[in-house]
C-alpha cells in the first residue's frame, strides 16, 4: 500500500525530501517503537531537507500520515468527526478539565460527554444546546461554520420546551419502572399522555 504511494509520485508540491528504509529493526539492528504510538517502528525516515538531518522511526500508519499528511484513506464522516474531536481535545484542556467535562450529562436524555466522545453520536436534539460550548468549536472544525443558511421548516421550529420535556419524562418513566417506583411511574405516564394529547390536538402544551 505504502509502496504504491511512493511510486505514484504523490508527494504534495513543496514536500521535503526523504530517505526511507522499511525494516523491522533500525540500521543498527535495534527494534524500536513508533514515535507516536506503541506499535513497532518499521519505517525509518531520514529527512534530508531542513538545516539538520533528522531521523524518524514510525509505524506504517504514522509513516503514511507523516509522508502524505491529510491523505490517509478512511471513510469520511466519522473519520472527520473523530479527527475533529481529537484535534479539539488536544487544545488547551488539562486532564482534570477533560475528566470534569466527560462527566457532564444532558438533563434531557442523560448522555454524558464521554459517551458522545466514544460513540460519536449525540443523544437528543437538546444536546446541541446543553453541550453548546463544547460542540461549537467541533462543528467549526468539521464544517468551517456554525451558522445554518439553508432550508427552514415552515411549521414552528422544533426543540420547544414541551418536546424536550417529553424526551426527559419518557426517560424518567423508564427509570421509575426499573427502580420499581410505580406510583411515580404512573404520575409520569399521565403527564406524558397529557402533553402528547395536547400536541396531537394542535394546541401547544
Amino acid at each position: 500500500m505504502l509502496h504504491q504511494l511512493f511510486l505514484a509520485g504523490s508527494f504534495p508540491a513543496g514536500a521535503s525530501l526523504f530517505r526511507i528504509t522499511v525494516q523491522a529493526t533500525t540500521a543498527a539492528g535495534v527494534i524500536m517503537k513508533c514515535k507516536y504510538c506503541e506499535k513497532p517502528a518499521t519505517f525509518h525516515i531520514t529527512e534530508l531537507t531542513g538545516p539538520e538531518m533528522q531521523e524518524l522511526h514510525l509505524c506504517e500508519d504514522h509513516a503514511r500520515e507523516h509522508l502524505a499528511p491529510g491523505e490517509t484513506e478512511a471513510e469520511p464522516s466519522s473519520s472527520s468527526l473523530a479527527g475533529a474531536l481529537a484535534q479539539q481535545l488536544k487544545i488547551g484542556q488539562t486532564a482534570e478539565e477533560l475528566a470534569r467535562l466527560d462527566q457532564q450529562a444532558c438533563p434531557v436524555c442523560g448522555i454524558t460527554f464521554f459517551e458522545f466522545r466514544n460513540e460519536g453520536r449525540l443523544g437528543c436534539p437538546h444536546d446541541y444546546i446543553y453541550f453548546n460550548a463544547e460542540l461549537e468549536p467541533l462543528i467549526v472544525n468539521i464544517h468551517g461554520s456554525t451558522k445554518h443558511v439553508g432550508k427552514r421548516p415552515k411549521r414552528a421550529a422544533g426543540g420547544s420546551d414541551w418536546q424536550t420535556d417529553l424526551i426527559r419524562l419518557r426517560r424518567e418513566l423508564k427509570e421509575a419502572i426499573e427502580e420499581e417506583r410505580y406510583e411515580n411511574a404512573s404520575e409520569l405516564r399521565d403527564e406524558i399522555r397529557r402533553i402528547e394529547e395536547m400536541a396531537e390536538s394542535g394546541k401547544r402544551p
Binding site: 505514484a8 504523490s10 491529510g70 491523505e71 471513510e75 469520511p76 464522516s77 466519522s78 472527520s80 468527526l81 436524555c109 448522555i111 460513540e119 460519536g120 453520536r121 449525540l122 443523544g123 437528543c124 436534539p125 446541541y128 444546546i129 460542540l135 467541533l138 462543528i139 468539521i142 464544517h143 468551517g144 461554520s145 456554525t146 451558522k147 445554518h148 443558511v149 439553508g150 432550508k151 427552514r152 421548516p153 415552515k154 411549521r155 414552528a156 421550529a157 422544533g158 426543540g159 420547544s160 414541551w162 418536546q163 424536550t164 417529553l166 424526551i167 419518557r170 426517560r171 423508564k174 400536541a199
Partner: protein, 361 residues
C-alpha cells in the same frame, strides 16, 4: 406477504436509477440526494429504548400515510425480514447497510417507481433519499424538497435556529443533506489517474466512496462523489459544489478513453472483447470478477467496440448478479459455490440471448 410480493416484483424489474438514461449517462450512473431528519420529541436513535423506537416507527408511518401526495408508498418492516431480503434492498440501494445490520424496530418506505425511499430509525429517525438516472441534481433536489415539505407538514422536525436540522452526528447537522453522484470511471483506473483525481477532490472537501457507500470498495470502477460539509452553505450551494466538479471528471474520463483508443486501440479492443467472452461463456464466476469484467464491457459498449448489448442491460446485470438478487430471482437460497454457477448461467442467458438476436437480424 406484502414483503414477498414486493421483493418478487422488485426482483423482476429495474430501478429508475439503472435506466441508463439522463444526461451524461455513459459515465454518470445516477444522481442522489439524501436528507437526515429527526423528530423533536424523541432521543436520537442510538439513545432510544425499544419502546421509543417502536413509537417512532408507528408514529412516522401513520403520519406518512396521512400525506395524500405520498400515497402508494410500500412499507417494509426491516426488523422482521430475513437477512437475504435485507441484503437485496442494500444491493438495490434502497436501504443502507447501517439500516440492514442494526437491531431494533426499523422500516423503509419505498415508492412504486423506486425513485425514493424513506428509512425509519437508521442513524437518524428519518433518512429520505431520492435517486435519478444520469446527472440531474437540480430535479433530484426539486423532488426531494417537495417530499420533505410534505412530511414536514405532518411531523415536527428537530431544528435549531443557528445549527439548522439537528442530527445524531454533528457531521450531518445544518442542511442534513448529502449530494452524491455515481460515476463509472474505468479509463481513469486503467491509466492510473484515479488516485490523483481523488486527492484533488479531498482537498476541496468532497468525499469519494465505492458503489455501496462508506467503506465499500470501488467495485466495477464505480465511484460516488459527495459533499462532506453540510452546514454554513445552503442546499443550492452544496449541489453546485458537487455538480461543478462532475463535468471536470467526465472530461478527464473521456480524455482517458480517447487516449486509450488512440494509443492502444488493439489492446483496449482485446480487453473488452475478452471480458465479454468470459461473461458469455463462464460456467462459474464470482461477483467480484463479474463486476470487474462488466466494467470493461460497459466501457466497450460506450466506445462502440461492442454492439450486441445495450447499456441498460449492463447496468442491470451489475445489480442482478449480486448475491441476494441472484437468490431472489431464482427463488431459492444458494451457497457461494451454487451462486457462482447460477451467476454464470444468468449472465449467459442475458448476454448470449442479446447477441443471438443480433445474429439473426
Amino acid at each position: 406477504m406484502e414483503l414477498h410480493r414486493t421483493i418478487h416484483r422488485l426482483a423482476g424489474q429495474c430501478g429508475e436509477w439503472l435506466r441508463g438514461s439522463g444526461p451524461e449517462s455513459d459515465i454518470v450512473i445516477s444522481s442522489r440526494i439524501r436528507l437526515a431528519r429527526n423528530l423533536a420529541d424523541f432521543p436520537f436513535v442510538r439513545r432510544c429504548t425499544d419502546q421509543d423506537r417502536a413509537a417512532i416507527e408507528s408514529n412516522v408511518r401513520e403520519r406518512l400515510e396521512r400525506c395524500q401526495d405520498l400515497s402508494g408508498l410500500i412499507f417494509l418492516d426491516v426488523a422482521e425480514m430475513e437477512s437475504v431480503d435485507r441484503q437485496f434492498l442494500v444491493e438495490r440501494q434502497l436501504i443502507s447497510r447501517e439500516l440492514a445490520e442494526s437491531a431494533g424496530a426499523r422500516a423503509v418506505a419505498i415508492d412504486k417507481e423506486e425513485q425514493y425511499s424513506l428509512m425509519i430509525n437508521e442513524e437518524d429517525h428519518l433518512r429520505i433519499q431520492l435517486m435519478k438516472s444520469g446527472l440531474d441534481l437540480e430535479n433530484t433536489w426539486a423532488q426531494i424538497n417537495e417530499i420533505d415539505d410534505l412530511i414536514e407538514s405532518q411531523v415536527n422536525y428537530g431544528f435549531h435556529d443557528e445549527f439548522g436540522y439537528l442530527t445524531a452526528c454533528p457531521t450531518n447537522v445544518g442542511t442534513g443533506m448529502r449530494v452524491s453522484v455515481m460515476l463509472h470511471l474505468p479509463a481513469l483506473v486503467i491509466t492510473r489517474q484515479i488516485d490523483k483525481v481523488f486527492r484533488s477532490l479531498q482537498k476541496i472537501s468532497l468525499a469519494v466512496r465505492g458503489l455501496y457507500g462508506e467503506g465499500s470498495q470501488a467495485m466495477g470502477d464505480f465511484y460516488q462523489i459527495s459533499n462532506q460539509i453540510t452546514l454554513g452553505r445552503d442546499e443550492q450551494e452544496l449541489i453546485r459544489q458537487v455538480g461543478d466538479v462532475v463535468p471536470v471528471l467526465i472530461d478527464y474520463e473521456r480524455r482517458a478513453r480517447e487516449y486509450l483508443v488512440r494509443e492502444s486501440q488493439k489492446d483496449l479492443h482485446d480487453r473488452v472483447s475478452r471480458a465479454y467472452g468470459i461473461l458469455c461463456t463462464a460456467q462459474t464466476i464470482s461477483s467480484e470478477e463479474t463486476m470487474h469484467l462488466l466494467s470493461s464491457v460497459r466501457m466497450g459498449v460506450n466506445l462502440g467496440l461492442i454492439e450486441d448489448v445495450e447499456i441498460p442491460t449492463i447496468n442491470q446485470l451489475f445489480i442482478h448478479t449480486q448475491p441476494a438478487h441472484l437468490q431472489k430471482i431464482r427463488g431459492v437460497e444458494l451457497g457461494t459455490a451454487d451462486r457462482n454457477i447460477e451467476r454464470a448461467l444468468y449472465l449467459q442467458r442475458h448476454l448470449r440471448q442479446k447477441s443471438d438476436e443480433s445474429d439473426n437480424n
